[in-house]
Symmetry: C2
Subunit: 788 residues, 2 copies
């Protein structure tokens, strides 16, 4: 690893940096421990100490050290920079720095930059009614929740895309580095355009330990570590030590070198036209865990070990020796030199800091809603398909998305991400407007790869998700297209993003950001060649557990409704929108205007398919493209054979409409729901996903006991499309049987029809196993023209 | 990278290997394309070609090549070996090899090793009623579903743990290598004991492309790639080429070298006592995607590009030119030399293969249920806590698990995995019976680390899960202890495992394997210091969508019930068992015998807490440790203030008991359910997780409309334990209010009590925000002795 042994700091500079660092450390310890006497101007008493000691000290001094030094770079070079902290459980550190910079008090005036404010700063930390112990949405300057490890590096990359002047300094904890999401994200540098994008500076902070174990990367030796970083495409610099003065010099010198190198790389690409993929610099920082904290407590080493992870001195309220150790620890930062009579930081600490929005804690990119520009959206109606035509829904959407790319090209604010599936998901039209970005080697036979490009494909759902989150959080727009089954790979990431969105709704200073839009396709019902392993419609269930105010789920039944829904989602803010749509040729039920009206209502009666005259004998409802085909085919069979049966056909696009209005902002009122689903008629509901969800959404409705749901029940393998439906009991024949079995008082003709349906099942099974194809009558079925 | 340029194969050996490879390739193409005329002994007609062409050719020739060469190693060295194929979508290859080895016909006698059997082999592939297109449970010799990429390497490591004679050759696709799960798994070699464990031979197969894009690792250049492998702790060998003869020699020479090296490493550790972590060999294999397939179709390059990923020649039934290309392709393998008159492989192809269980497709480790030995379990009752005592449930369990480790030490068949949380989850007793295994550097201050050890901690839930799956699938036992919120990281992995378990239930030759046991602790209700980001009880919801026959969910309310549940789970087979339990000091409600009886029933009335005399006015039910405390505290309040109110207390340990018996094997009959929950009384249900799940499980019960559920609703941050309950409306005061609001005809005293509860809420909020602690009366509450 490269070692820089310049000593660039003058004595006064070094003193200022060190004083700043001591102040940040003091304030961090104060947050963990103190509920009174913040400046220790009185002797420390047990009652000054919080009764419950919560927080993470171990990583904090390292985060504070980096904050100080990165601020120096910002101030001296005017570098636009954000600071992404993977070990965000070091929350007290980031809060301390924001307070020192003044941002904290500007954001939360009660927490003023003086002694009473400092008291509040300490009190609120990890305290009921206060702030979380991790870096969180409440923390100015952050785009990364510190609670769940693994997402910092992909967030950092997402943030700098299309921000050519920006550097995201990204601290990666050595614990975090073991996670899958982080391990995959290192290769993001193969997708970073040195011309149009900014730079990420990964700083791998090896303090050696996790909660309870050494970390792997701290124990593999420098040769393997250096090789690993080189293998990831980086030039690694080492900063190592436990003597503050030496580390200050070494880190300052290294940062100078590294930022020079970033400038050189960008100049070469931007001015000299270099197209070789650069080896971007990164830093390995080895400092002790819990550095500057107590060295030993009760005969056990603390500093430099895993024991420094959380609260190094326990029981300081009860144990006078521990109390005095805590006092000594706090006083070791010499607070009397750091804060003036009012409790504000002295000028030497703050007068060299960046000002205004240059401050790391106030960088506008970290509050992306502030700088947000609406997407220019073409009129989606112009991409509509004629009703009755066969269309591949995602292919139709692809043309719209292509023109979204074109219309916003000059604003550099829209990206499409996906795990190697854009073409498989039939969005290939977008490739006529944009390359897939690729900085590794390009061969002559390659198609649509380029150094620039707004389509990003890596076979890591984690990295796709992280990039997009970083991009959205910094105020840009995007879409994640994914195989439905494998979006579960990011379940835990979407959890954290949903939590972020929930919290920022209650923080007026955090402006709304563009929604996280998923297009889930190649879905469970059409995994003809991949089979069982590729079938899982449960992401919807996962999301519906999140706060209703954050989650939207759409199941457009055809190409035109997909267009309308996509247009809506791309305009929305602060949501997680899930769109499930098919990619296979399928009927178009509604012309595009009718589609827009239908989507506007979210669900509705399809009069053209119904013959109920306002008083149905039975309601056939569907949500999802495949269930809609089956419901209409079943309706067709019923209306031909039992013309006196009054059938109402209902289609649901916006799944959340089914919930009571008390549960979800999109929920129908009970009277609206009853007008559609009645209070006493049988409802047969064919649903795209696991059937229980429909019960969950409707169990408070008057007619719930008459609602019967068919859906995916984990059956089926590599087989034909119709056979999938048969295996899961959601095919048209089964739906007809269901109707006949449920609706009382049907004629004898119904019994005949029922027998025919049973025979059809047998005929189908025989035919499909013989030919490998679906019955022609199933494949060729179309909604009768006279029925429209 | 190291290159071996021996040419170890004699001409006859090379001919045999190549003929075998051609045969496997022929059979692979046949499976994708043919439904008749399997040996092409008649001219190929359109109707010989399947109407729907499904399957993945691109990776298959590489998988077949490796199969041939690894079989040579097995045969020549008597090496015990399994073959794990990450790019398992190359299913036809693995099936073809199993057929050539004879295992396929032994397993599925209809698919005999002759022409009619070959015809069935081809017909069944990716065909309705046939077999999946990927490597799947149906495939002899596999422990890895080929559908979802990323898990091969951790599966391979799991398989060789405690199998010192075994080598898992693990092909990693270059697409798969981009996933997070795979990227994290490389560091598994820091946990592999060269003495007690076998070896993993990773083979990174760089065929250059994914479905639609080049792969990253194929485009970063050999210097970065080699450094990356070195950084992962490997010594990398390169095998590269597109000339079959040269590649055969190079691969054979390299495998000889690599297996020598594995033997050397193991000998050094086992005989010479070497303790340095070895640099295990791995192979980078660069061969063209779709090698030996059509070079060009319709003017587009196929072989060596992403276009070879699935079906290289489309429309062979309709297009006579394509049909003739297909014929030429098949004939290029010279089937007439490979199969005898009956259609069986000629002796030169098969007489050098390993025999019996030495065959890769018949290795007993891949059907772990065959070799399974039951765990020796200590009597869990001996670890019980006295009823009324305060205990940390997981700590009590830890003592039991410690003795499970001790009792089975000599059988080497039990492991505990977790992401750096064993001690945090209070299972530290296990560390007195076993080290945490660690092959990287060990420092003097480290505790409980050792070269050997049955506790495995890496900060990657993916890797923990993959190790454990590999361990279970090869017939051993284990437990995954995890923070509840972060188990979502493996949602998609558990999906695939659940699918595997579902399928093997219908394959009599696959013997039952030990269950996948999760201990979820550090749960949503006690994330006092980590807050919102660490709260998510939704894994249960995720699992409940899987097949009922596979899923079991337990919520033991105290230490003794946890012991009983854990004992049960460790004895079970073919399930996914989720146990949610607290780690904080909490009351013990039942003595251990009563606990065992209660767990045996799965749910029941707690008579000692009830005063309903068989005819309750209201039922207070709970599932989960924290809800149980609140339900009992609410019952105590109600019984003191409203002694005439008849309260029934019900506790649910086995959540699946709530479902109808038609839905889940554990489901209560309606009459049993009604006997406990009545058909007409109000039920207030306090549940550990998202409340809707209880409705989902009970919506078919007669009394469902009277069941009201409180649970986690995404509220709460860093705060006190009781405040978490208040914020989510599940505290005892709220439950009392619920009862008063729901139960008709209560006395005026109820109104007074209700007001007191409202006042208590206000008092609590004030107190907690002032002191940071819960109201003393809440903290100190105990179930009254006279009530027992």
């Amino acid at each position: 690893m490269f070692v820089v042994d310049d000593e660039p700091l003058s004595a006064p500079e070094l003193n200022c940096l060190d004083a700043y660092w001591r102040a940040a450390n003091y304030l961090s310890v104060g947050q963990i421990y103190l509920m009174g006497n913040p400046l220790l101007r009185q002797p420390l008493r047990p009652e000054d100490v919080k009764p419950r000691l919560l927080g993470h000290w171990g990583t904090t001094p390292g985060l504070n050290l980096l904050y100080a030094h990165l601020s120096r770079i910002v101030a001296q070079r005017g570098q636009d920079m954000i600071y992404v902290t993977g070990p965000g459980h070091g929350g007290p550190g980031l809060v301390a720095n924001a307070w020192l910079e003044g941002t904290y008090s500007e954001t939360y005036p009660r927490v003023s930059r003086d002694e009473p404010g400092m008291a509040r700063l300490f009190n609120q930390f990890s305290f009921p009614g206060g702030i979380p112990s991790h870096v969180a949405p409440e923390t100015p300057g952050s785009i990364n929740e510190g609670g769940e490890l693994g997402y910092s590096l992909s967030h950092a990359y997402g943030a700098v895309l299309d921000n050519p002047g920006l550097v995201a300094a990204c601290v990666i904890g050595d614990g975090e580095a073991e996670t899958g999401a982080l391990a995959a994200a290192w290769h993001s540098n193969k997708f970073l355009d040195p011309v149009g994008d900014g730079a990420v500076l990964p700083i791998l902070h090896l303090n050696g330990y996790k909660i309870d174990n050494p970390s792997i990367l701290a124990r593999i030796g420098d040769d393997e570590l250096n090789a690993l970083m080189f293998g990831y495409g980086h030039k690694a610099y080492l900063v190592e030590g436990s003597d503050p003065e030496a580390v200050h010099q070494m880190l300052a010198g290294t940062l100078d070198a590294v930022f020079d190198e970033i400038v050189d790389i960008q100049r070469a690409a931007r001015e000299d036209g270099a197209t070789d993929r650069p080896a971007w610099p990164m830093i390995v920082l080895r400092t002790p865990k819990g550095w500057t904290g107590p060295r030993e407590v009760d005969g056990k080493l603390i500093e430099g070990t895993w024991r420094a992870h959380q609260v190094p001195i326990e029981g300081a309220r009860e144990d006078s020796e521990h109390l005095s150790m805590l006092r000594d620890w706090l006083m070791s930062y010499r607070p009397e030199e750091l804060f003036d009579a009012d409790g504000a930081p002295v000028p030497a600490i703050v007068n060299w800091l960046p000002r205004g929005q240059a401050r790391l804690s106030d960088n506008p990119h970290t509050n992306g809603g502030q700088t947000l520009r609406d997407l220019e959206l073409p009129h989606f109606r112009e991409y509509g398909v004629r009703a009755g035509e066969t269309a591949e829904a995602t292919k139709v959407l692809g043309a719209f998305l292509r023109d979204v790319l074109v219309a916003n090209e000059r604003y550099h604010n829209f990206r499409i991400v996906g795990p190697d599936e854009t073409v498989s998901n039939r969005l290939s039209a977008v490739l006529s407007a944009s390359d897939k970005v690729w900085q590794a080697a390009i061969e002559p036979e390659d198609e649509h790869l380029g150094r620039r490009g707004r389509v990003m494909e890596i076979l890591s759902e984690h990295t796709c998700q992280g990039w997009l989150e970083g991009y959205l959080l910094t105020g840009r727009h995007g879409l994640f297209s994914c195989y439905e089954a494998f979006v579960h790979i990011v379940d835990s990431m979407v959890n954290q993003h949903a939590k972020w969105l929930k919290v920022i709704r209650h923080l007026p200073w955090r402006k709304p950001i563009p929604s996280l839009n998923y297009l889930l396709t190649s879905h469970a019902w059409r995994q003809d060649h991949n089979g069982f392993s590729h079938q899982d419609p449960g992401f919807i269930d996962h999301l519906v557990n999140k706060k209703a105010e954050v989650v939207r789920v759409y199941l457009p039944p055809d190409a035109n409704t997909l267009l309308s829904v996509a247009d809506h989602c791309l305009r929305s803010r602060n949501y997680i929108n899930v769109i499930v749509a098919g990619k296979q040729p399928a009927p178009t039920w509604l012309d595009v205007d009718a589609a827009a009206r239908h989507c506007g209502r979210g669900l509705g009666i399809w009069e053209w398919a119904s013959n109920d005259d306002g008083d149905p004998d039975v309601i056939l409802a569907s949500a999802g493209d495949i269930p809609t085909v089956e419901v209409l085919a079943a309706t067709d069979l019923l209306r031909r054979s039992l013309p006196q049966l009054r059938v109402r056909v209902v289609n649901v696009v916006d799944l959340m409409r089914l919930q009571p209005e008390s549960e979800h902002p999109h929920g129908l009122s009970d009277s609206e729901f009853d007008a559609i689903f009645t209070t006493d008629r049988q409802v047969l509901f064919a649903y795209h996903g696991y059937p229980w969800l429909i019960h969950r959404l409707t169990y408070r409705r008057t007619n719930h006991s008459n609602i019967h749901v068919r859906g995916y029940k984990e059956e089926g393998t590599t087989t034909t499309p119709f056979d999938m439906l048969v295996l899961n009991d959601m095919d048209r024949f089964r739906l007809v049987i269901d109707v006949i079995d449920r609706v009382p008082g049907l004629s004898r003709r119904a019994a005949t029809l029922r027998q025919r349906m049973v025979d059809k099942h047998a005929e189908h099974r025989e035919y499909v196993q013989l030919t490998g194809e679906d019955l022609p009558e199933v494949r060729d079925w179309v909604w009768p023209a006279e029925g429209r």
